[in-house]
């Protein structure tokens, strides 16, 4: 869907490239998270997709077409864009903010209005309450939701998100991440997402691109990045608890043991939980096995420390 082909960018007056010889592809309907320390070139990479920054070498193609061939405004109107600090227009209402791109595309006012209501509901804001509010009356989390709604307004197939949840408190961020995953499950957009937070990357990404000093160091699914970091830099960036992060990605179903093993034990976890949650439960109860229950509360299996260790040892495909 989005293809970077030997892309290089050097800012005027800078001694080194911001991005060097970058090649990778973002698959349609997937969330690709660009992650790395400050100044690694991740924002530059994202901004070359909608040509807020023009590459010096190589090319970026969208659906097989070089982005530089399109008229720049048309290209951008077809790509959702959400950024840190949101960048809502403070002199416009929520309705006008969300309806901005449809307005630029010349939609009928009634169609824009319907679309605005639909989107506000999608991001969990009551249209009757929020449509005519101004951004200065919104909380940080509400403003971020409006920012996401605005990016989705014209139903673009591609979404660029530059640290969209960077400026809110951890609790709100957690909620926004949940809602984002929920929305993404329904809409299946192709998303390029920039963050410097590895936990966020692991949680949201279908694929993670780890960047360092303008180069792509590793590009893989989160489990493999955690299990097989490409080098010491990635291992360091991923952090000492990468085993636990991996567990949080592994569903319990992959290590399910027979239900009878859990008889007489008091610990229980839901069948949809991750192995990390199962391990936490095991540590809390002090027993080496916990029971697994379905939605109705019936015991359907068990998970023990040995199962988790065995699952962890098995190489990833």
């Amino acid at each position: 869907m989005i293809l970077f082909d030997s892309v290089t960018k050097r800012y005027p007056g800078a001694g080194i490239d911001a991005v060097t010889d970058l090649s990778f592809e973002v698959t349609e309907g997937e969330v690709c998270v660009l992650v790395g320390p400050s100044g690694c070139g991740k924002s530059t990479t994202l901004r070359m997709v909608n040509r807020l920054i023009e590459p010096d070498g190589g090319r970026v193609t969208l659906d097989g077409r070089d982005v530089c061939e399109s008229r720049v405004e048309e290209l951008r109107r077809g790509i959702g864009y959400a950024i840190q600090g949101v960048g809502l227009f403070p002199h416009r209402t929520v309705r006008e903010n969300v309806g901005c791109v449809p307005g630029l595309l010349g939609w009928e006012p009634s169609r824009i209005d319907g679309r605005v209501r639909e989107l506000l509901e999608l991001v969990g804001l009551d249209p009757d309450r929020y449509a005519d509010a101004y951004p200065d009356g919104l909380s940080g989390g509400e403003a971020q939701r409006v920012g996401v709604a605005r990016a989705l307004a014209a139903d673009p197939p591609v979404l660029l998100m530059d640290e969209p949840f960077g400026a809110v408190d951890p609790l709100t961020r957690d909620r926004l991440q949940c809602e984002f995953l929920e929305i993404q499950r329904r809409l299946r957009k192709t998303v390029v997402f920039v963050t410097h937070d590895m936990d966020e990357a692991v949680r949201l990404g279908d694929r993670i691109a780890i960047m360092r000093e303008g180069r792509l160091v590793q590009y893989d699914v989160p489990e493999r990045v955690l299990a097989y970091p490409a080098d010491d830099f990635v291992a360091g960036f991923v952090g000492g608890e990468r085993a636990l992060k991996r567990l949080s990605l592994a569903p319990i179903a992959e290590a399910l043991g027979p239900a009878r093993d859990a008889e007489g034990r008091e610990g229980r976890v839901a069948v949809g939980a991750s192995m990390r949650e199962a391990l936490a439960r095991i540590l809390e109860t002090g027993e080496d096995v916990v029971g697994v229950v379905d939605e109705s509360g019936a015991l359907v299996g068990s998970v023990g420390v040995a199962d988790i260790v065995a699952r962890f040892r098995r190489p990833l495909s």
């Binding site: 290209l75 864009y81 600090g85 403070p90 791109v101 630029l104 605005r150 660029l160």
Partner: protein, 366 residues
């Protein structure tokens, strides 16, 4: 101050001497204001009492000058004049400053504050309308010049309005240019600041030559009154002076727009022009408008330059008064100018409140 005739250098007369028993009124008011300022607390009620007493003092001083004038002129020659002396002007000024200060304490835009603000202008207007200031020298001068006076007021305002209008168009353009192109920023501000350093008379002097030549070579220009003297050099000079405040505030307003907002606007596919007209300029408006206000106030004062280019304006009365050594005529021009400046100021403030959006906008600086 009594003058035996219009341009006499005059003899000073103390207000107490001229007024007799009436003289105690301003003294009592003054003591009351002073007592309130020292004794009472800093709450709104005492501010209101102080303000109204000060307003009464202003009006009493003006009205009593007329009483004094009538007493002094009784039995004098018909050419005799009574002018308000320096001491009284200072007292009026100080009392009026007290009114303004009290109004600020009460809150400028509360109903009580507005009422106090209107008290002095209304009182003076009522005194003028009732003919009670008839015998003061400044009004005698006004009667001599009545027709000319209103023509010059209108001309003064017209020059100022046209100049500010033109300066807004050019100044906003220059401010945008300076903001958009870092290369032109220095030269734009160097140029408009340079205009500011040229004294008014010199500016007219510089323009007279080329303008005279232009009107000589292009007869069409001469036909509309364009020439080395007259409206042309005045309006051009006033426009050049007004550019700095407008260009500078346009630039400051644009620079104050949050970068994330501009980034989002561009990223969503607005053209450069749309970003400027739909996002940057609306958000810069409060700062930009405060620049226009500064420019308007400055221009109303500067428009007296017209007198040096044979183009009239209120400056005419000042220069004419100086030439004739008639202090009352100088005062007529000066007082009218002060009143005009105050009126323009409150008009622009009101407009600013109307135009400033409730939401967003960069912080106004002045």
């Amino acid at each position: 101050m009594v003058r035996r005739f219009r341009v006499d250098s005059g003899t000073g007369v103390a207000l107490t001497h001229a007024l007799g028993p009436w003289a105690s009124l301003p003294v009592v008011l003054l003591l009351a204001v002073a007592g309130l300022s020292l004794g009472a607390g800093r709450d709104r009620r005492s501010a209101s009492a102080r303000g109204w007493l000060a307003a009464a003092l202003v009006l009493a001083l003006v009205a009593l000058c007329e009483v004094a004038a009538r007493r002094l002129l009784a039995g004098a020659a018909p050419f005799a004049r009574v002018s308000i002396g320096g001491g009284v002007w200072v007292a009026v000024f100080v009392a009026y400053a007290l009114v303004v200060a009290s109004r600020r304490e009460m809150g400028r835009h509360t109903p009580a504050g507005r009422a106090l603000g209107a008290a002095v202008p209304t009182g003076i207007a009522a005194l003028l309308a009732s003919g009670r200031l008839h015998d003061l020298g400044i009004l005698m001068e006004y009667r001599n010049w009545a027709d000319r006076f209103w023509t010059e007021v209108a001309r003064h305002l017209a020059y100022a309005a046209i100049s500010v209008g033109v300066a807004v168009v050019i100044g906003v353009g220059l401010g945008v240019l300076a903001y958009v192109s870092a290369r032109s920023e220095r030269s734009v501000f160097a140029t408009v600041s340079l205009f500011q350093t040229i004294p008014g008379l010199a500016m007219i002097g510089i323009l007279v030559g080329p303008f005279a030549w232009l009107s000589h070579t292009v007869p069409a220009l001469r036909a509309v009154g364009f020439g080395g003297l007259g409206w042309a050099p005045v309006i051009v000079a006033l426009t050049l002076y007004a550019l700095l405040a407008i260009a500078r505030n346009t630039y400051a307003g644009l620079a104050g727009v949050p970068p994330a907002t501009v980034d989002a606007a561009l990223g969503m596919g607005m053209t450069r022009g749309q970003v400027l007209t739909r996002v940057q300029l609306p958000l810069a408006m409060p700062v930009l408008f405060s620049g226009m206000r500064t420019a308007a106030e400055q221009t109303v004062g500067n428009a007296t330059l017209g007198a040096f280019a044979a183009a009239g304006t209120l400056g005419l009365f000042v220069t004419q008064g100086l030439a004739e050594q008639s202090p009352d005529l100088v005062l007529l021009g000066a007082v009218a100018l002060v009143v005009l400046a105050l009126a323009v100021d409150s008009l622009m403030r009101a407009a600013q409140r109307l135009i400033t959006p409730r939401h967003g906008g960069t912080e106004a600086v002045a």
